[in-house]
C-alpha cells in the first residue's frame, strides 16, 4: 500500500459538478397545457438554463387526436419521466391521471396510476419515447 499526497481531484469534482448541473438544466421553468401549445405557431417552453425546448407539431396533433377537450385542458407538457427515484425504476407523476390515459392509449394496455405515480418499465419507456420524443423529458433524481 502506497501513501501519496492527496491527488488534485478538484478537477474531477468540478467536471462532475458541471455534468450534474447540465443534467437537469433542461427542465422547463413552467410547463404548458396541450391546448395552449396547439394554438402556438412554434410550440415551445422556456428551460431553466435559458434555452428553449420545442415540441414537434406532429406529436402534439397525435396527442390531440387521442384526448378529448377536457383532457387537453389538463395535460401538462412536457411529461416528466423521473429516473432513479426513491420508488425505484422510472416513474411519471400524474395529478389528474391524463398521463396514464395517454400512456395506456399509446401502449395499448391499461396503466395503473397509484398515489399519483405511474411506474414505467423499460420496454414501455422505449415505446413511449419513440412516439413522444419531444413531449416527454427525463428528470434525474437520487
Amino acid at each position: 500500500m502506497r501513501i501519496d499526497n492527496p491527488a488534485p481531484d478538484s478537477i474531477f469534482e468540478n467536471c462532475l459538478k458541471d455534468d450534474l448541473k447540465t443534467l437537469n438544466a433542461h427542465l422547463p421553468r413552467k410547463r404548458k397545457l396541450l391546448s395552449e401549445l396547439l394554438e402556438e405557431k412554434h410550440p415551445h417552453v422556456e428551460c431553466g438554463d435559458g434555452s428553449t425546448h420545442f415540441f414537434k407539431k406532429k406529436e402534439l396533433e397525435h396527442l390531440a387526436v387521442m384526448l378529448d377537450d377536457s383532457e387537453k385542458q389538463a395535460l401538462m407538457l412536457p411529461i416528466m419521466i423521473e429516473v432513479g427515484s426513491v420508488e425505484g425504476g422510472t416513474i411519471v407523476r400524474s395529478k389528474n391521471g391524463t398521463e396514464a390515459e395517454v400512456f395506456s392509449k399509446i401502449l395499448d394496455m391499461p396503466i395503473d396510476c397509484k398515489c399519483d405515480v405511474i411506474t414505467v418499465f423499460r420496454p414501455q419507456l422505449n415505446v413511449l419515447r419513440k412516439v413522444l420524443k419531444t413531449t416527454t423529458q427525463y428528470i434525474f433524481t437520487t
Partner: protein, 216 residues
C-alpha cells in the same frame, strides 16, 4: 491495478471527510449510471430508427429516379430542364433542439412542404409524369431531412455516451476504490493506535502497581 491510498493526515476529521466524500461519490455514480443507461437506450432506439429511415430513403429515391427517368423519356431532357428551372421549390426547415438527458439533439421540421405552391409549374405541355416525379422528389427531401436529424442525433449521443462512460469508469475503478482503500487504511490505523494506547495504559498501570507494591 493497485489502489492508491491518498492521505496526508491520519486524523478523525480526515476520515469523516473521506466518508462524506465516499457517500457523495456513490450517489453521483448512481446518477451517472442511470444517465448512461438512458443514453444507451436512446442511442439504440435512434440506431433502429436510422436504419429504417435509410431503408425508406433508398426506396423513395429508387421510386423518384424511376419516375424521373420515365418523365425524361416522355418529355426529353431539354423540356424537363426548362420546366424544372421554372418550378418553385423553395421550402423552409425549422431547426430547433430537444434535450435528452443533458444532450442537445437537433430537431428538423419542414414547413408547408405539401402546399400547392411547392409543386412544379402546371402548363398544358406538362404531364402528370412530371407532377408525379416532383411529388416523389419532395418525399425524398423529407426522408433526407429525417435521416439527417437521426444521424446527427446518433453522433451526438455516441460522443456523450463515450464521455459518460469514462466518468463512470473513473468513478467505478479509480475514485470509489481509492476512497474505500483510504477509509480502510485510516480505520486500520486508528484501530492500531487504539490497541497501542490500551497496551500503553496497561503497561503504565502495571508500572504504577509495581511502584505501589515496592512502596509498601
Amino acid at each position: 491495478m493497485s489502489t492508491k491510498v491518498q492521505v496526508t493526515r491520519p486524523t478523525k476529521i480526515e476520515l469523516a471527510r473521506l466518508k462524506r466524500r465516499m457517500k457523495l461519490a456513490t450517489r453521483i455514480q448512481k446518477i451517472v449510471k442511470d444517465r448512461l443507461s438512458i443514453l444507451i437506450m436512446e442511442f439504440l432506439q435512434t440506431v433502429k430508427e436510422c436504419a429504417s429511415a435509410k431503408e425508406n430513403l433508398l426506396a423513395d429515391f429508387k421510386e423518384a429516379y424511376k419516375a424521373l427517368s420515365i418523365a425524361t423519356g416522355y418529355h426529353g431532357y431539354a423540356f424537363l430542364e426548362k420546366e424544372l428551372l421554372a418550378s418553385d421549390m423553395t421550402f423552409k426547415i425549422n431547426t430547433v433542439t430537444r434535450n435528452v438527458a443533458g444532450v442537445r439533439l437537433p430537431v428538423f421540421e419542414t414547413e408547408e412542404m405539401d402546399s400547392p405552391h411547392f409543386s412544379v409549374r402546371n402548363t398544358p405541355d406538362t404531364s402528370s409524369l412530371i407532377d408525379n416525379s416532383a411529388a416523389l422528389s419532395r418525399k425524398c427531401l423529407k426522408a433526407v431531412i429525417e435521416l439527417a436529424e437521426l444521424q446527427n442525433s446518433l453522433e451526438l449521443l455516441g460522443t456523450e455516451i463515450n464521455k459518460v462512460k469514462r466518468i463512470n469508469n473513473a468513478l467505478e475503478h479509480i475514485v470509489i476504490p481509492g476512497l474505500d482503500a483510504t477509509i480502510k487504511y485510516l480505520t486500520i490505523k486508528f484501530e492500531e493506535r487504539d490497541r497501542e494506547e490500551i497496551a500503553r495504559l496497561k503497561y503504565v498501570k502495571m508500572l504504577i502497581e509495581q511502584r505501589e507494591a515496592y512502596a509498601y
